[in-house]
Amino acid sequence: MTGTGDLTRRRAVVVMTGLFVALLATIAASFYFGAVHLTPSEVVGVLARKVGWSLGPDPSIRAEAVVWQIRAPRIVMGMVTGVALALSGAALQGVFRNPMADPHLLGIGPGAAVGGAIGTLLGGSSGAIAGAVVAGMLTALVLRTLVETRETERARFILMGVALGLALSAWVGFAVFAGDRTKVPPVEFWLLGGFSSATWEMAGRSLPFVVIGAAVLTGGRRTLDILTLGEAEARHLGVDVAMFTSVVMLAVGVTVGAVVGAVGVIVFVGLLVPHVVRRLLGPRHGPLFAGCALLGPLFIVGADLAARTLFTPVEIPVGLVTAAIAGPFFLWLARRDSRVIS
């Protein structure tokens, strides 16, 4: 066997099936566990009724409210966020051929959060997503103009992204403190993330942007494979590298903005998930995106489940959970497999 090479179809099917089953299990657990205790039959009863089956006695109004108005939108928003961040991380790592590329580490997430905070002041929760999408795109454009010479200066590019991110994180604070603090969520929401305010309405506003962004990113999977050969090689094979980079970054800006405006910045997902999927499914971007679309939601929904159940009844910011799990795991991965960083 040849390690991280293209893997057989059979192995891909096994891994994808495994990820899918694990995602379903995590979703089921997220419906069941929580501050309000429900029986499994109550959960199943509510969900069955929503798809048109009547199973058993009518569920209580309380069960219906908890399952359908609190837990379901929270899970859906978690899945949307997981897909958005994992695909964005995979695409940025591909386009910059840099394993440390991540939408939040490069400042696109914090930039979107500034827009989200300002957007909330101007237009409430719908303004938050619109503001974050616009600011996400603007930050992506700023980063794009900064990294023109990336072929020879990859390390500098990451440093610039990190500096941009730190500066913009401070601006999130300015936007929050300068605004009306009764209306704008606090700084720790924007910088550590959280799903406690997730609603169907929010998921409905965020989803279209994520669908568009994800379609653009996954549509670039073959071009990303070619870029893996090197920037000059990609040009020689007919790729307009400058244009493609701009398109990917704008798509990441839209995708990340749409979820940051809703749930804040959740770190490490875009960094870690693609690395794990690469180990499972190999380096080609088709399988990589497919795996990320399952493991991203699995990781976020699982982390949110931990965030709201670890210290019941207190809920901790989900970004603390993702960083606490993913940080050490990433270190272990990077140490074990020198290819992650080299």
Binding site: T2, D6, D225, P283
Partner: protein, 264 residues
């Protein structure tokens, strides 16, 4: 007939340095042309001008009449393929995947098909003698093997103009000869092949025309037997060099003739 590749007083300057200085060359189809010269002579820069990677500071470079640096990348990729020196270091894909990516420019062509892609890829793997490595990951291969993978990818791109920067430098003697013979055959199929080479003997044996560069300028251009002589090469390489006929090939053979240290 219009030449495939045409340079007219093409220059490339960066800052105060002139890397390519008023080079004029025409190259037609079926031609296998080598570019030789000392380090820093401007050979790679010349190749990059032809490839469209660089835009000439003055003069013109055209491929079938069009300036490559003005062509759309996807169109240019159907006209010329390029082998870069030291290609393929950290590529995590298998050999077959990399060679298949060479077919990317043809994906929207009416006449192309998955079957044709597969056939061209297999042919390229066989021609470069790497079929047995097809399922290996490129980053696990030796430098010479990686070079052959890159050559196979270039062949799979199937373009009328093939540009190669040091295709044989990392290869063992056997694979050097095989690669030179392969590129000669590629030219005879109706293509234009231009290769930057350090091995003047290989250039003299296999290429139709040899272009000798020094300090950005073309010092000589023509059939190896007409161009290569002691005075020119000794001057260009700043090293005593003699040219003798190859004992049985007949092509010119270049010999370093610096006196050896006493204890060598």
């Amino acid at each position: 007939m219009m030449p495939r590749v045409s340079l007219r007083a093409a220059s490339y300057r960066i800052g105060s340095a002139t890397l390519v200085d008023e080079v004029t060359i025409d190259i037609g189809e079926l031609e296998f042309v080598s570019v030789v010269g000392p380090n820093g002579a401007g050979k790679s820069t010349l190749l990059r001008l032809v490839a469209g990677d660089l835009r000439p500071s003055a003069g013109s470079v055209t491929l079938d009449g069009a300036a490559p640096s003005d062509m759309r990348p996807e169109v240019l990729a159907l006209v010329r393929s390029v082998l870069r020196p030291d290609a393929g270091g950290g590529i995590p894909f298998t050999v077959r995947t990399v060679v298949s990516l060479g077919r990317h420019p043809h994906r929207r062509e009416q006449t192309n098909s998955a079957a044709r892609d597969a056939a061209v890829v297999e042919e390229a793997l066989a021609a470069t003698e790497i079929a047995h490595l097809a399922d290996r990951v490129v980053s696990t291969l030796s430098t010479g093997e990686r070079t052959r993978v890159a050559i196979a990818r270039v062949l799979a791109q199937d373009t009328p103009i093939v540009l190669l920067d040091e295709p044989t430098t990392a290869l063992d003697l056997g694979h050097q000869e095989a690669t030179m013979a392969l590129l000669h055959g590629v030219a005879r199929q109706g293509r234009t092949v231009v290769a930057v080479l350090h091995d003047v003997n290989a250039a003299a044996a296999y290429t139709d025309r040899i272009v000798v560069m020094d300090r950005g300028r073309v010092r000589a251009s023509g059939r190896p037997a007409d161009v290569l002589d002691d005075a020119l090469l000794s001057e260009v390489y700043r090293e005593p060099i003699r040219v003798v006929p190859h004992p049985f090939r007949g092509s010119p053979m270049v010999l370093a003739s610096r006196p050896l240290p006493k204890d060598a």
